[in-house]
Point group: C2
């Protein structure tokens, strides 16, 4: 497979040494900080076949890491991949896995710098590491949110059960645009669900927040989930939206909402407040607490 | 386990953001090139338990990557780890795995920047990525060897079956010292065995080599393997020595051998020649070909 990968590899202007030596070498920008993200996907835990195609698994293994780099407002530069392949995956499925990964690397300008493939008697395991460049002045952390900041979110939430988690687009250019607009205090990508990830951001920042239920952008696809839960419940509790959740000063947020710097939807869904509580204003004017988990019981 | 890892994490002067945000951030030197190495170890393929302790597996998962960075004459800076943990590994075994890894990171000054842990129904899988700094002027590749160069090797060869592959020391400082001596044309670390890895170097450089059997530094430990093969056969064909194999100009090689810049043994075992063949001068003055595999049949 390594030979096959080598033949498929696109030349990339930054890639000085690719597959075939002891390590890869990538020409590096003049940056103060280097960002590193790593994620491992395991068959049966993070995806099941044949619901997920090999191309989708390859794509997702890179995409989740790009989403992490985006959440720091960074720019991804290179990726390496290691795969433990079950015997049934040898040949065409492995090539399809690799092409899903390669396609997304090409779309996002990331140099696929190297990898390691091994056989396993267990399930498929794929681990991707992405390294990238920090934005000027350092990455945007989870910890900078301040009372008064607006809570902004990209895209629509709640589509993961409909397969969105297998074909999402990492919000790389959106993250850079938000950074360049200024006033970006804190950011996270939504991997565990809006409520849980907003709690992570609030906890790291030492603040609370109030969301407005009517403003949360709902994914239309979730009608199809057909499990009796409301679309709002899906949007708040389901994981793997891989949208950006950001705390931005009110003046910049107003400008961004009035004149968005990108085509992806950007929505103001609430406000950072003093304290440590997260709650939500419902359409009937009730205010309900939004714990990290168990949201369904509160407003289901 | 992530919480436990976070509590164990040493502060490292380069680590700006460690575990707990979307990605890690590491302060980066002013380097033209960044090196990346990745290796995945799978239980039952690369190690068996209880022959290998959890500490040894953790240590080895990092060490093999450090050996790859050394082979480029690079300096490792940061590492990230992803692990698929079987249920039987939760708790103490996972902590021992992690401490083996952490101990080696501390010894080598590498910042353990982040990780991802997941459960699996299959065997233990651990993947480590190391990123580092290229030496001035770019990494030392496999491809620069020239006829007339001497073939130098660090340490002793052939001890892997005695467990050396689980406790070897990556030759990081030795690689830098060889680089700084000048005249270092090509280098590789011995992971697949002396014959196979020297073939890799020769093929990449478009040259051949003649080794001198009597000069190959043999590991005394291999007496214990007790499989009837000579120590020379072990030294040539066994993998996972993780010693450095270098092609160096004759004048610099003579100086290095006369006055080694480090305490690790350094031995001149032969010469790079025109052509593409690898052979070996035996003590009885026979010259035997040294194919990448199947050496045992030739001189066993």
């Amino acid at each position: 497979m390594i030979d096959w990968i080598r033949r498929q590899a696109d030349p990339h202007p930054r890639l000085e040494v690719g597959i075939g030596d002891d390590a890869a070498s990538v020409s590096w920008p003049d940056t103060d900080s280097t960002l590193i993200a790593v994620d491992m996907l395991v068959e049966g835990v993070h995806f099941r076949c044949p619901e997920a195609t090999p191309e989708q698994i390859g794509r997702k293994s890179l995409a989740v890491n790009l989403s992490d780099i985006a959440a720091m407002a960074g720019r991804p530069i290179a990726a390496v991949v290691s795969v433990a392949l079950p015997r049934s995956w040898h040949g065409e499925p492995a090539q399809r896995l690799h092409s899903g990964l390669t396609d997304l690397a090409r779309e996002t300008g990331v140099a696929l710098a190297g990898g390691d493939t091994t056989s396993t008697d267990g399930p498929l395991v794929i681990s991707v590491t992405v390294i990238g460049e920090s934005p000027p002045g350092g990455p945007v952390l989870r910890s900078g949110a301040q009372p008064g900041d607006r809570v902004l979110v990209t895209g629509h939430l709640g589509g993961s059960l409909d397969g969105h988690h297998l074909d999402f687009t990492p919000r790389l250019s959106e993250a850079v645009a938000l950074f360049e607009a200024g006033g970006l205090h804190a950011m996270i990508d939504i991997s565990d669900g809006l409520a849980t990830d907003l709690h992570h951001l609030l906890y790291a920042s030492g603040v609370g927040a109030r969301l407005i239920a009517a403003h949360i952008p709902l994914n239309q696809l979730t009608e199809r989930a057909g499990d009796g839960r409301t679309r709002l419940a899906h949007a708040i509790a389901d994981g793997e939206d891989f949208e950006l959740l950001a705390a931005v000063t009110p003046d910049v947020a107003a400008r961004l909402i009035a004149d968005p710097p990108f085509a992806t939807p950007l929505t103001d869904i609430g406000q950072i407040v003093e304290g440590s509580d997260l709650d939500m204003l419902m359409p009937d004017d009730r205010v309900v607490p939004l714990p990290p988990l168990g949201f369904e019981h509160e407003v289901g």
